[in-house]
C-alpha cells in the first residue's frame, strides 16, 4: 500500500477506442470489393475464317432448337414456351433419349443443343436460357459420377487437382481422346429480323 504513495491511478482514456474501431470498420467496408469472378463459363468456337466450310448434315432428331426473338419470346423445338425453367427437363430428356424416341436424339454424343437469338434479344433472357442449358448438362454429369450439381461445378472449376480431373473426365466420358458425353452447345450468330 505504501508503494502507491503519491500516485493516482494512471489510466489511459479509452473512450475514443470506439471511434477508432468504427473508423477501421468504415475503411475496410469502403476498400473491400467483393470478389465477383463467378459466372457462366463458356468456350467459344474457333475463328470462323479458320473453319473449313463443309456442309455437315445433322439429322433433325439430333438437334434441340431453342430460338429467342427480339421480344424475348421463346420457341423451343418449334413450339412457343412461356416458362424458361421447363427447358432444363426437356434437354435432359432429349440428351438421355439414346434412340428410344425416333423424334429425339440418337446418343448423348450426337445430341446438339442449338441456341439462336435475335440481335434485339436482351442479355438477361440469353443468360436465363444459357443457365438452363448448362444446368441440364451439369445435372447429368453430376449424376454420372454420383455427386451433386454444386459439387460438379466445383470440380469443373478446379482441374489442377488430379482427383478432380479424374472425376471430370469420368463425368464427361473421356475415352481415347474423345468425349462420349460432350456438351454440344451451338450458339448461332444472332439474326437481324426483329427490330
Amino acid at each position: 500500500m505504501a508503494r502507491n504513495k503519491g500516485r493516482s491511478n494512471p489510466e489511459i482514456n479509452s473512450s475514443s477506442m470506439a471511434d477508432i474501431a468504427f473508423l477501421l470498420l468504415i475503411f475496410f467496408l469502403v476498400t473491400t470489393t467483393i470478389a465477383n469472378d463467378r459466372g457462366l463459363s463458356l468456350q467459344l468456337p474457333p475463328n470462323p475464317e479458320d473453319i473449313e466450310n463443309i456442309d455437315i448434315k445433322i439429322p433433325e432428331r439430333n438437334l434441340f432448337k431453342i430460338q429467342v426473338n427480339s421480344a424475348d419470346k421463346l420457341l423451343v423445338e418449334g413450339d412457343p414456351l412461356e416458362n424458361v425453367s421447363e427447358i432444363r427437363g426437356m434437354i435432359k430428356e432429349f440428351v438421355m433419349n439414346n434412340g428410344r424416341d425416333p423424334e429425339s436424339s440418337d446418343t448423348p454424343k450426337e445430341a446438339i443443343v442449338s441456341l439462336k437469338t435475335d440481335r434485339g434479344t436482351s442479355q438477361e433472357k440469353f443468360i436465363e436460357v444459357l443457365d438452363q442449358i448448362q444446368g441440364a448438362y451439369y445435372d447429368m454429369y453430376a449424376e454420372r459420377i454420383g455427386v451433386t450439381n454444386k459439387r460438379w461445378r466445383d470440380i469443373a472449376s478446379d482441374l489442377t487437382d488430379p482427383d478432380n480431373k479424374r472425376l471430370y473426365d469420368e463425368g464427361r466420358g473421356l475415352k481415347d481422346g474423345s468425349l462420349e458425353f460432350p456438351m454440344n452447345l451451338s450458339i448461332a450468330e444472332p439474326t437481324k429480323i426483329g427490330g
Binding site: N36, G39, L42, P45
Partner: protein, 153 residues
C-alpha cells in the same frame, strides 16, 4: 488516511481532444493512398442472375469487358457501349485490346487468357455477339459471363 488523499489533486488524464484530428488524418491518408478500383466503370452494370455459376481459378488470367448503357447519357448517348480499361471501344477494336491484354501475360500463359464479360441485363445480344466474334478472331476463346448467384427455389 487523509495523509494519502492530500497529494492526489493533480489531474492525470491524457488530453484526448486532439484524438479525433489524428484519426481523421489517418483516414484521409488511407483515402488518398488506397487504390479502390483499377478502372472507373462508365456503363450501367445491372448484372443478371443465374444458378449454374462457376468460379474462376486464376485471377491474373482474367481481363474484363464491360458492356452496357453509358452512365453519362448526355455525353455518350443511350446506346449500349463496350468499355475496356477506361475507354469506350468499338467491337472491331476488341482484337487489338485482346492482343494488348495478352502481352501483359507470360508467354506460356497467353492462350489461357479468360475474358470476363460484365454485361448489363438490358444490353442487346447483337452487340455482345459482335464482341464474341472478335474474341474468336483474336483467339481468346475462354469466356465468362459474369452473373450473380440466384437463390434456388
Amino acid at each position: 488516511m487523509s495523509k494519502f488523499k492530500k497529494k492526489a489533486n493533480t489531474k492525470q488524464d491524457i488530453p484526448t481532444s486532439a484524438l479525433p484530428d489524428i484519426i481523421f488524418m489517418l483516414l484521409f491518408f488511407f483515402m488518398v493512398t488506397t487504390v479502390l478500383r483499377e478502372v472507373t466503370i462508365n456503363v450501367k452494370q445491372r448484372i443478371p442472375d443465374a444458378t449454374q455459376l462457376r468460379k474462376l481459378q486464376r485471377k491474373s488470367l482474367v481481363s474484363y469487358l464491360y458492356i452496357g448503357e453509358p452512365k453519362k447519357t448526355d455525353q455518350w448517348g443511350s446506346e449500349p457501349r463496350v468499355q475496356a480499361n477506361d475507354v469506350f471501344i468499338e467491337p472491331k477494336d476488341v482484337i487489338l485490346w485482346v492482343t494488348a491484354e495478352k502481352d501483359k501475360l507470360n508467354e506460356v500463359e497467353r492462350d489461357q487468357i479468360t475474358i470476363a464479360m460484365k454485361v448489363d441485363r438490358e444490353a442487346k445480344r447483337g452487340l455482345v455477339a459482335d464482341c464474341e466474334l472478335e474474341l474468336r478472331k483474336a483467339n481468346a476463346r475462354k469466356l465468362l459471363y459474369t452473373t450473380i448467384q440466384e437463390l434456388d427455389e
